[in-house]
């Protein structure tokens, strides 16, 4: 079966973001960018499905600027077969991303679509669910285990109270959580090979989607800063401070 994986180019998770002085956003100039960590987990899961003989082809799609080709090449180096970049320099909100992905789903007809549960920039946790709704598919969100069995997929989900397993009819959408797998690193030969794999570039208009945003970010500010307090010498001093100064125990 065909598996579609969506990946997003975001700020590297190790980088501490700075808010722009004019409060219009965060400063991304000369910042290290990378594939969103949850998307890496999505790619890895697809590759494992292919290694098990469950997936026959892995298509990786990204929505973003021209440089997002780098993240698609990374996914191709990890084992995806071909890539699609929906190129736009504009900020794409979740609903528009879901509509673009829905258009790709209509064209490619994958049996399984795997996405990260959230991207670590906007922290929205929406796109996979929106895509599933638009495509009329069931969803297994925050997945820690995915087992394809015939025309169904069983997904174990990390939920607030513990774990919950659902059975979904294929085609279905899965969004990944941290414990689904540990992504591999791409080997040098595979990075070289990935350069030759097909990568299609499309414009949102080619897919018939208009990028109209209904949310406007009017201001971006620094969070309130917490300053370091004091070091206590020992447990006795700690307990005394908590009881008599902070009055929290």
């Amino acid at each position: 079966m065909k598996v579609l994986v969506a990946v997003k180019r975001v700020i590297d998770y190790n980088v501490k973001v700075r808010v722009k002085a004019d409060n219009t956003g965060v400063d991304l100039t000369n910042i290290k960018m990378a594939m969103n960590p949850f998307c890496e987990i999505a790619v890895e899961e697809a590759v494992r499905l292919k290694e098990k003989g469950v997936a026959s082809e892995i298509i990786v799609v990204s929505i973003g600027p021209k440089v997002a080709q780098e993240q698609i090449r990374t996914a191709l180096a990890l084992g995806a077969d071909r890539g699609i970049l929906i190129e736009t320099e504009e900020e794409v909100q979740s609903l528009q991303a879901a509509k673009l992905l829905k258009a790709v789903v209509d064209e490619e007809q994958p049996q399984l679509v795997i996405l990260g549960k959230q991207s670590i920039d906007s922290d929205n946790n929406q796109t996979g669910q929106m895509l599933a709704a638009l495509a009329g598919m069931p969803q297994g969100t925050f997945a820690s285990e995915v087992v394809v069995d015939g025309d169904k997929v069983s997904v174990t989900r990390e939920v607030d109270g513990g774990l919950m397993t659902v059975a979904l009819n294929l085609p279905a959408v899965v969004t990944t959580d941290l414990r689904l797998n540990e992504p591999r690193y791409a080997s040098l030969p595979n990075i070289m090979k990935a350069k030759k794999k097909p990568l299609d570039v499309k414009a949102p208009a080619d897919l018939g989607v208009e990028l109209k945003a209904s949310l406007a970010i009017t201001k971006v500010e620094e969070p309130p800063v917490r300053s370091a307090g004091i070091k206590v010498a020992d447990v006795a001093e700690l307990v005394d401070k908590l009881k008599n100064e902070a009055k929290v125990i």
């Binding site: 919950m164 979904l168 209904s214 929290v248």
Partner: protein, 309 residues
């Protein structure tokens, strides 16, 4: 304005976070209806009717909603939601699961994880793991929103007497089924509602060692949490993870034990009133946010703390 709040509940009882979501609804202003969708959820509906500021409780009691499957619940909420100006639920794993589907079905954006209401169309939410705070204005006809409970003081759960109305609206997409669940059982307070939280990280070394935290927790009436590293290593289950992609907590007292203080962890607990860090590395970043830092080996410090309480 009219607001639909989708209650968090386990059929038998209303989850306290619903009262925080009602508080966000109140800040928006307007008539507030609550939807309790579940199976055998009469008791949860009764509890919702007692909450302060609720005009009406709608009850959709059907097997299709028993496990809050997103495919079914989203059809119901989209159907009801188009008659409201705002649809709100908590940013727990149930809300995160079904509400974006509702937004897509209504062809509107979702505003995730709000921590403040500026006006009926403008909301404040953290982005980049809480390293930036965005003000977001929506031009959609229906505002679909998940609420971070810790951002809003709960309304009173007593004193209200809203009408309870059963609705006959069964939506079964027929594409998903509940198979099983493995829920953590604990007598300790739920993490997101606890007044005190004590969390362990990789420094705990194994799951067994969490017993020393549990002993302190029991004396303090605290919840027990963990870092991602501790969960990934299999020391403790996933529902204990605090952080950007786990639970967001804001207790009066947060005690971080053997946790280095990565930004993704801080995103989940830096709203705590008082933070204590116990770590043997005096350079650990957690000390930069801790009100009281103790540089010590946790295997000596935690038992000593236990003895001193």
């Amino acid at each position: 304005m009219s607001i639909l709040v989708i209650a968090d509940h386990d059929n038998a009882s209303l989850k306290p976070v619903t009262l925080n979501v009602l508080s966000a609804a109140k800040a928006i202003g307007g008539d507030i209806d609550v939807l309790v969708a579940g199976e055998g959820c009469g008791a949860a509906a009764e509890a919702a009717a007692k909450a302060d500021g609720v005009a009406k409780v709608l009850v959709a009691d059907n097997a299709a909603y028993g496990h809050h499957l997103a495919e079914n619940l989203s059809l119901l909420v989209a159907d009801l939601g188009k008659g409201y100006s705002h649809v709100l639920t908590s940013a727990g794993t149930t809300g995160k699961d079904f509400l974006p589907r509702v937004a897509a079905l209504l062809d509107v954006a979702q505003i995730s994880d709000i921590i403040r209401v500026e006006s009926a169309d403008t909301f404040v939410r953290p982005i980049y793991a809480g390293n930036a705070i965005a003000t977001v204005q929506s031009s959609d006809a229906v505002k679909v929103i998940t609420v971070r409970g810790t951002g809003f003081d709960p309304v009173s759960g007593e004193g209200g007497s809203a009408a309870v109305e059963a609705i006959d609206n069964v939506q079964d997409a027929g594409k998903s089924a509940f198979v099983s669940e493995e829920m953590a059982k604990s007598d300790r307070p739920e993490l997101t509602a606890a007044e005190i939280v004590i969390s362990g990280g990789r420094g705990m070394q194994n799951g067994d060692n969490f017993k020393i935290l549990e002993s302190v927790a029991d004396k303090l009436g605290a919840g027990v949490g963990a870092s991602r590293a501790a969960v990934d290593a299999g020391f403790v289950p996933n529902d204990m993870q605090v952080g950007q992609t786990g639970k967001i907590v804001a207790p009066n007292l947060y005690i971080a034990v053997g946790i280095s203080g990565a930004i993704q962890h801080l995103a989940g607990m830096s709203g705590s009133k008082v933070i204590v860090a116990i770590n043997k590395d005096e350079e650990a970043p957690i000390f930069q946010v801790a009100d009281y830092g103790l540089v010590a080996d946790l295997f000596e410090a935690v038992p000593a703390l236990d003895a001193a309480l």
